[in-house]
Structures are given as structure tokens and as C-alpha cells.
């Protein structure tokens, strides 16, 4: 082992294709289902980062588990997209560490075509297939019977699709996107604010942008590539229609802002359908279209995030306890 590098640890892991070595064979690590894995321990949490090999392209996955016991279940995080992914990234890592400390395994990953994952088609359907690939592989490798999903922003629509394969799975939603059409309408509109901020020229009208999207198959929205396949799959999607009808525990945590509008009716509908729903607004206000500049996070925001995470921990552990 080279000094200062711990790409692998533990006898159960397959050799990692680290620097200076050949790639490992096709066999995945027995405990995680991943290949080219690195492992570390943060506090009481064991973290494995690696790739889930799939014919369509490898998925970058990080698995967080307690070091001292077998996990009671698995939460798969369906992350947000575009600028929001950056804002949420560290929040999701911290949640994963909080939950793993409490005995819950957490799988986080990048959708194919996004971040560190392999190239692939981008659409709601493709992303929900990624969610299912990760969940099945990790649950199988760790013999985890219970599964739950967290949908963050646009990830809410993706998590909702994955629920069809897990009818009883608890669902947590952070600042859920209720209406895909409105999501993109607001995203495209944010280009105006961005142009003003950097002193650039007025961006092309949305109609022109959509014409380019249809013609070229993708457009640049503030430094993010939006593909026609993703746009078409999200447009017209509504969370109300996407979440399956089966009753399940649902924790909804809207942040401050326009996305909170319309949630009360949705929650009422889910309750009428027999789901055990808790609506817990969070005092976090953020602009989902821009990556905040600088590292300074006010103590009050950190405290609110801590509250957000401890709520999820207590709710999820409680939901599974009720299930026993």
C-alpha cells in the first residue's frame, strides 16, 4: 500500500484498479456490489466509493454504513439536478453520515450522464432505472430487506417512479418538484437573472431556446447541458400522478419558496389514500437555480440543516420500527 493512499481496506474487497495497477476483474465486491472501490471510515461510518458496472455505463456510487453493526435497512438518495445538485451535495453526504451512525445504510450515486458516472441517455425513466440498479445491487450485496427512498428537488419525480418496484417503501421528499413543466419554465427564466448578474447580453427567449433544443437535441442553460430527452420526459410530469397509489409512510420537507405551493392538497390526497404522511416545512430558503458563492454558511442555516437531518433519522427509524 502506498503511503497516504487507502484505496482499499478490508480483506473482502476486490483489488482496486488504483494508480499503477491493472483494473480489477469483473467481479464486484461481495459487501457492496461495487467495483474499483475505495473505503474509508468517517467517525462511526464506513464509506465505500466505487462503480456499479452496468452494460449501459457505470454508475458512481457511495455507500455509507455503520461500522459497528449490520444496517437495519437501506435509504437510496435520488439527488437533484443542475445547480441544485451542487447545493445539495454536501447536505446529502451529511445526512448519509447521520443515518449510517444511527444504523441505516445509505446509497448515494450520480445518474448516468451526470457527474462521475458513465455516459448514458438522460431522462426520468433512465434515471429511475439507475435508482433501481443501485438499490437492487446494494440491497442484494448487503442482504438488506428494508428499502426507503429520498427524493431531493427533481429527484422526487425520479424516486416516485422507483416506488413502483418497492410498493411499501417509505418516501422522504426534500423541496419536491411537483410539476415538471413549471420546473423547466422557472429554470429557463433564471437565465435572465444570470445574464444580469454577469453583465451579459439578454438571453434568447424561451421559445428560441426550445426550438434549439428540438433541433440540436440539447441546450446550454447557465453552464448546464439540458438534453431534449430529459426535457421531454420531465415536461408534463406531476408528482401527484407519479407516486403510486399504495399507502406508505411519507415525510415531506418543503423548503421556503415557490415549490411549497400546492403541497397541502397533495398531502391531503395522499392521506385520503391511506398513506401516513407528515408535512414538516423547513426554514431553509435557497435559490435552486444558482450555486451559492463562497463557503460561509450561517450558523442558523447549519442548525436548521441539523434539525432537517435528525427529523429524517427519527422518522425513518420510527417507520421501520412500526413495520416490525
Amino acid at each position: 500500500m502506498r503511503p497516504g493512499v487507502h484505496s482499499q481496506a478490508g480483506a473482502a474487497l476486490q483489488p482496486c484498479a488504483g494508480p499503477g495497477q491493472e483494473a480489477g476483474g469483473p467481479g464486484a465486491d461481495q459487501g457492496t456490489g461495487l467495483v474499483n472501490v475505495a473505503r474509508t471510515v468517517v467517525g462511526t461510518v464506513r464509506e465505500d466509493a466505487g462503480f456499479l458496472a452496468r452494460p449501459e455505463g457505470a454508475l458512481f456510487v457511495v455507500l455509507h454504513r455503520p461500522v459497528d453493526r449490520a444496517p437495519s435497512g437501506l435509504l437510496t438518495v435520488c439527488g437533484s439536478l443542475f445547480a441544485e445538485q451542487h447545493t445539495d451535495y454536501r447536505r446529502e453526504v451529511r445526512l448519509a453520515r447521520v443515518l449510517a451512525s444511527a444504523g441505516v445504510a445509505v446509497a448515494r450515486f450520480h445518474y448516468r450522464g451526470v457527474g462521475n458516472s458513465g455516459a448514458g441517455s438522460t431522462s426520468l425513466h433512465a434515471f429511475s432505472r439507475d435508482v433501481l440498479d443501485v438499490t437492487r445491487a446494494v440491497a442484494h450485496a448487503g442482504s438488506l430487506r428494508r428499502v426507503a427512498f429520498l427524493g431531493v428537488g427533481m429527484g422526487s419525480l425520479i424516486a416516485a417512479q422507483a416506488l413502483f418496484d418497492y410498493p411499501d417503501a417509505p418516501l422522504v421528499l426534500w423541496k419536491p418538484v411537483l410539476d415538471g413543466t413549471k420546473f423547466f419554465k422557472d429554470f429557463f427564466r433564471a437565465r435572465l437573472a444570470a445574464a444580469t448578474r454577469i453583465g451579459g447580453s439578454r438571453p434568447a427567449p424561451t421559445e428560441d431556446l426550445l426550438a434549439t433544443l428540438a433541433h440540436e437535441g440539447q441546450v446550454d442553460v447557465m453552464g448546464f447541458t439540458v438534453t431534449a430527452s430529459l426535457y421531454e420526459s420531465v415536461r408534463g410530469s406531476h408528482l401527484a400522478q407519479t407516486v403510486p397509489r399504495q399507502p406508505r409512510p411519507i415525510l415531506v420537507q418543503p423548503f421556503r419558496g415557490s415549490r411549497a405551493t400546492g403541497l397541502e392538497q397533495l398531502v391531503a390526497d395522499w392521506k385520503n389514500g391511506g398513506s401516513d404522511v407528515r408535512l414538516e416545512p423547513v426554514k431553509l430558503a435557497e435559490d435552486p437555480w444558482f450555486i451559492p458563492d463562497g463557503a460561509e454558511i450561517a450558523a442558523s442555516i447549519l442548525a436548521t440543516e441539523e434539525q432537517l437531518m435528525s427529523s429524517v433519522r427519527e422518522w425513518l427509524v420510527g417507520a421501520w420500527r412500526t413495520d416490525e
Partner: protein, 315 residues
């Protein structure tokens, strides 16, 4: 052509790593050329922009660079600063300490993988610890800095007098002044320039004339000359024949801050003159800061590929 599944027929091999960096653990992704592609002895380290960022960078630009480099036989390593992405700890925005240790850990990992020379690419904040880390070693062939914050808001108030003296008079500097004629000439020319600027400021204040403050950062004192961040390190790198390319966009606030700071502008002009072409200054149309434009992203990818190729096959 996806890659990380470990199949030998693919164009590149990706592997996750955790690196020790002081008391923290830094996450990194190493991207190597496929075994069928001859590997270059040059490796590229990619340092992202710090807060609210992770190893892939905006729109997966770092991922794209890594994979395209691997196709040309050039290995790379992208990582998360402590307190960002998958790494442990809290982010420290500083020119010393943890962020520098993180870049050093990434450089060492790439060297341990067999790379003899390194090209370091730092974006925004990530450029600053990259400069600091590169200045302390002899294996960095080149640096590319995307919109570095070379003039910080309120910089003149950051350090105590003692700390600021320490920035100028320290062991590496004294050693270089004693042993390297080029550096010695630069050092004393710089000293004269600073004294001249300070005297000029005092005189203008005495005469009641205001100094240019256009584009001054919020919180900065009007009329305060702040100077160039990492000036000594940049000078040392140039002296040791490291090629540095600073890239700004016309829309970048960081460029405006450099332009508005007379002391910094003068220092850059002096460095460029002394560097005899080793310090390139490139301005692209649009925003480089934050990589907020896909077309600009592609220009930056091409620039990194071109520079890496140049180091791989020196002319």
C-alpha cells in the same frame, strides 16, 4: 465507451481513492488510460472551485477532461477538498493549511502512480492552494488557473504585520534569493516596486487625490491597494521554469478586481516581463468563473488538452 466497470477494452479506467491529508481524508478519482494505450509520464491534477462543488465540477467538466486526457494516454486525478464532496472535515478557505495539504496529497498520489511531471489545473478558489502546493516542489511542469481570485476582498486586513513580513521573509524565499540570480533580480525589483507604490499612495493621500476604486470588492476600503495574492509563489514557479496560464472570462468579477487593483496589476506586469513568456494571460469572451457557459467550458477543456499534450510531447 463507459469506463469504470473495469473492462480492459474501454478507453479509460476510473478508480475511487481516499487520500490522507493531515487529519482529514480526501476523496479522489484517478482516471488512467486503458491498458492498451501507452501511458504518458505527465499527469494532470484537477482542483475544483471549493465551496458547493465536487469532483466532477459543474456540468461534469472535470470528468470530461479526465476521460479525454485518458484517451490520449494522459492519467489524471480529480479530488474533493476537505469539507466538500465526499471528503471529511470542513472547508477552509485559506492560502495555507488544509487546502494546500489536499492538493499536495493529490499530487503525491499521481506521482505514486508513476507520473514524473504534473500539470495542475485549479478553478477559482482551487487555483490558490494549487499555486501554494506547486511552489514548494520541483515536479510541477505547468499550472492552468481558471479565474483565480488573485485579489481578495479585504486582503490588506487579513494578516498582522508580523504575518505579512513572514510572507516576504521566509526560508524558501531567502534560499532562492541566495541561490538564484533570476529570482534575486525579480525579488529586489518587486521590493522597489512595492516601496514606490506605497510612497505614491502616501503622496496622493497627502495631496488629497483619490485612488482608482472601480470594481473594488464589497467591504474593501476605498483607496486601499491590496496587492497580488500568491505573488511570491508565482514568482518562484516562474523562476523554476514552470509554465503558468491564467485564464479569465470577460465577465469575471475576479478579473475586474485584478484590473482595479493598481498594485496587483503592476505586480502581474512585472511577473510577465520577468517570466519571459512563462506567465500567459488569456481572456476568453464570457464567464470563466463558475464555468457558467457550456461553450466556454469546451474552450477550457481544449486548452487543458492542448497544454497536457504539449507537456507530453515537448517541442
Amino acid at each position: 465507451m463507459s469506463s469504470e466497470g473495469g473492462r480492459a477494452s474501454e478507453s479509460h479506467l476510473g478508480c475511487a481513492m481516499y487520500l490522507d491529508s493531515g487529519s482529514e481524508t480526501v476523496f479522489a478519482l484517478h482516471t488512467a488510460p486503458a491498458p492498451t494505450t501507452p501511458a504518458s509520464s505527465v499527469g494532470v491534477v484537477l482542483a475544483h472551485s471549493g465551496a458547493n462543488n465536487f469532483s466532477a465540477h459543474r456540468n461534469g467538466v472535470w470528468t470530461s477532461i479526465s476521460r479525454r486526457l485518458a484517451q490520449e494516454g494522459i492519467p489524471s486525478l480529480r479530488f474533493d477538498f476537505a469539507g466538500t464532496g465526499e471528503s471529511s472535515g470542513d472547508l477552509v478557505l485559506g492560502v495555507t493549511g488544509q487546502p494546500v495539504s489536499d492538493v499536495v496529497a493529490a499530487m503525491n498520489a499521481l506521482r505514486a502512480a508513476g507520473c514524473q511531471a504534473l500539470l495542475i489545473v485549479g478553478s477559482c478558489f482551487g487555483a490558490i492552494p494549487s499555486i501554494a502546493a506547486a511552489a514548494g516542489r520541483g515536479d510541477v511542469a505547468g499550472l492552468i488557473l481558471f479565474s483565480p481570485p488573485l485579489v481578495l476582498p479585504g486582503r490588506s486586513r487579513i494578516g498582522s504585520v508580523r504575518e505579512r513580513i513572514g510572507e516576504v521573509i521566509n526560508l524558501p524565499t531567502v534560499r532562492l534569493v541566495g541561490t538564484n540570480g533570476d529570482y534575486r533580480r525579480w525579488f529586489f525589483a518587486r521590493l522597489v516596486s512595492i516601496v514606490r507604490t506605497r510612497v505614491s499612495v502616501k503622496l496622493q493621500r497627502l495631496m488629497g487625490r483619490s485612488l482608482p476604486t472601480s470594481g473594488a470588492a464589497p467591504g474593501g476600503d476605498a483607496g486601499t491597494l491590496r496587492g497580488l495574492l500568491m505573488e511570491d509563489e508565482l514568482a518562484r514557479l516562474i523562476t523554476s521554469e514552470t509554465d503558468i496560464e491564467v485564464v479569465y472570462g470577460t465577465a469575471d468579477r475576479n478579473l475586474a478586481q485584478v484590473a482595479a487593483d493598481a498594485d496587483a496589476s503592476r505586480a502581474i506586469a512585472l511577473l510577465r516581463r520577468r517570466g519571459q513568456g512563462r506567465l500567459a494571460w488569456t481572456i476568453l469572451e464570457g464567464p470563466v468563473h463558475g464555468l457558467e457557459d457550456v461553450a466556454v467550458q469546451e474552450q477550457l477543456v481544449q486548452l487543458v488538452l492542448q497544454r497536457a499534450r504539449g507537456l507530453k510531447e515537448p517541442t
